[in-house]
């Protein structure tokens, strides 16, 4: 079942386009990366899904319910993290727990303790005295503590150190394997590449890509370097080669097994095939290149 669905979602800010006719969906247990340059409409889309704004036209549905009209019914199953985490500055993490206990009308203490331990957050520090990273951790804990089935995160790793980033990504993987649907925006392509099953890209308010990481990898180019002991008898046509003596450097697109097989058939003494260069692909999409 699709946990998150956008159908022809459009939002105008006056006459300015926020997003226009964006349609995509995220299934249960799926992690979907949401990419795009600044001002592309990522946050607008996430805010529409979180029920903070009313779409101009189109529909956003979460767990089968309208994200705007029925938001109070779905928000107990949704964890939302805004792009810039700002919590009431008089609160400590302990105050936040007591507040959320009352709001959710249930006891969240054990889950809260697990999350504060995971992110190593001191529960007695007031938000006004917290660093950006600590505030981000608090925001994440507040969004995750009630074990929601849908996670909508706007740049969740922003402000976190690499250790905490890895812990968060591992936590998200676990949640996805338990059936949670996760949609998150990010500027870190590595993060998206390593975590996501799917990628949705927007640019200038329009959806330009909705595909799996696997199929994206097939579109991306790979750098290949082959060292031959002597001049090869045949050439490999599906690549652009630059030869320097007996060292061949080139780029291929898609599957690498054919070039590997060819190199071995030519008795190559060394063969290096890099991972697909998704970054280059993303950059070209960002810059509106073919």
């Amino acid at each position: 079942m699709d946990a998150i669905v956008c159908e022809q979602l459009t939002k105008f800010y006056g006459t300015r386009v926020g997003i226009e006719n964006v349609s995509f969906s995220v299934g249960e247990g799926q992690i979907c990366g949401f990419l795009g340059p600044n001002g592309a409409g990522k946050s607008t889309t996430l805010r529409l899904l979180a029920g903070l704004m009313k779409p101009t036209t189109g529909t956003s549905r979460v767990l089968g319910m309208n994200a705007w009209n029925q938001r109070e019914s779905i928000m107990s199953d949704v964890g939302y993290l805004p792009g810039e985490v700002r919590v009431w500055n008089w609160m400590t993490a302990n105050d936040a727990l007591s507040f959320l206990n009352r709001v959710h009308a249930c006891e969240l203490a054990s889950s809260w303790r697990r999350m504060t331990d995971l992110f190593e957050l001191n529960p007695d520090v007031r938000v006004r005295n917290m660093s950006k990273g600590m505030r981000q951790k608090l925001g994440l804990i507040m969004a995750l503590v009630h074990n929601p089935r849908v996670l909508i995160f706007d740049e969740p790793t922003s402000g976190l150190d690499p250790v905490m980033q890895e812990r968060l990504l591992s936590e998200l993987r676990t949640r996805a394997s338990n059936g949670s649907a996760i949609l998150f925006s990010s500027h870190s392509l590595k993060e998206v590449e390593h975590l996501c099953d799917r990628v949705v890209m927007v640019r200038r308010g329009a959806l330009i890509e909705d595909t799996s990481i696997k199929s994206l990898s097939e579109q991306a180019v790979r750098q290949v370097r082959i060292q031959f002991p002597r001049e090869p008898v045949t050439s490999f046509e599906n690549a652009l080669w630059a030869q320097k003596g007996l060292e061949w450097k080139g780029t291929i697109q898609g599957d690498s097994k054919h070039v590997a097989a060819w190199a071995l058939s030519q008795d190559a003494s060394d063969l290096v095939i890099e991972s697909p260069d998704l970054e280059h692909l993303f950059q070209s999409r960002y810059r509106d290149e073919p």
Partner: protein, 270 residues
């Protein structure tokens, strides 16, 4: 109604509530003592001074024939400082939702909680009104303490003072309704505060000048303070039913208008 939101809102208004309540209480005691120390003769002389008499009439919103204890008891309820305390409290608290939360960036968390906007709005509003009741209550206690500290003050008129408190609370609700509405339609909190304050000060000014300026004399009902008459209550000992009704209606229109805007307002903190 959600106790978490209620408690949070109460916590956020705690400082201004305690400050206004203590100031209200203290000011009433001090004012009672000041009037007691003036002596009857001084007061009579003050009443004979044209300008001072006009100012007193303008503040009380009614004609004064001669000096009487009621004038000074009523004056404690219409003194600009007392009115300013209520307005400061109403405007500070009631412009928090939603524009204050949007400006602070906390609206994202608040409005993605598993609560309807109705519950958030009602819980927050009830919290503000409760804190206003605390301020009013402290004012009433201040009046009582001031009265008790005076020699030969006679019995304290509980009924009339409760009615004045009620009338004052109705003024507060009207101002807070206006603040809540402006907080929903404005995109900046400063703008909401500015507009509300301008309207409230204009209202005060209109009541003031209606004592001696023709156009204002003909339309005193345009001012909110026209419906706040402590002097009349002390004179007649009657519930100001029509005044309360007008103020309550004004407050209701403000709060309902605020709710109608808030329930479908886009929350954009970017």
């Amino acid at each position: 109604m959600n106790s978490g939101i209620f408690k949070k809102s109460w916590r956020e208004c705690r400082t201004v509530t305690i400050t206004c309540a203590l100031a209200f209480l203290g000011f009433q005691i001090v004012l009672a003592r000041v009037f007691a120390s003036m002596g009857d003769q001084f007061i009579e002389q003050l009443m004979n001074m044209g300008f001072a008499r006009t100012v007193m009439q303008a503040l009380l919103g009614t004609q004064i024939s001669s000096a009487s204890p009621e004038i000074f008891r009523a004056f404690g309820w219409v003194h600009p400082v007392i009115l300013a305390l209520a307005w400061v409290h109403a405007i500070t608290c009631c412009t928090r939702l939603p524009v204050g939360e949007v400006e602070a960036g906390t609206a994202d968390f608040l409005l993605t909680l598993p609560l309807s906007r109705r519950v958030v709005f009602v819980s927050t509003s009830v919290s503000f009104i409760t804190s206003a009741a605390v301020v009013m209550g402290c004012g009433l206690i201040g009046v009582w303490l001031g009265h008790q500290s005076l020699p030969d003050s006679g019995p304290f008129n509980y009924g009339a003072n409760l009615m004045i408190t009620l009338n004052y609370l109705a003024v507060y609700l009207a101002v807070s309704g206006l603040s809540a509405f402006n907080a929903c339609v404005c995109s900046r909190r400063g703008q909401a505060i500015g507009i509300t304050l301008s309207l409230v000060l204009s209202s005060f000014f209109w009541t003031f000048v209606s004592q001696f300026w023709g156009p204002a004399k003909a339309t005193p009902w345009l001012s909110l303070l026209h419906y706040y008459q402590p002097m009349e209550i002390l004179r007649n000992h009657q519930i100001p039913g029509s005044d309360l009704a007008v103020l309550s209606l004004f407050a209701l229109v403000g709060w309902v208008g605020a709710w109608l805007v808030f329930r479908s307002k886009d929350i954009n903190t970017n």
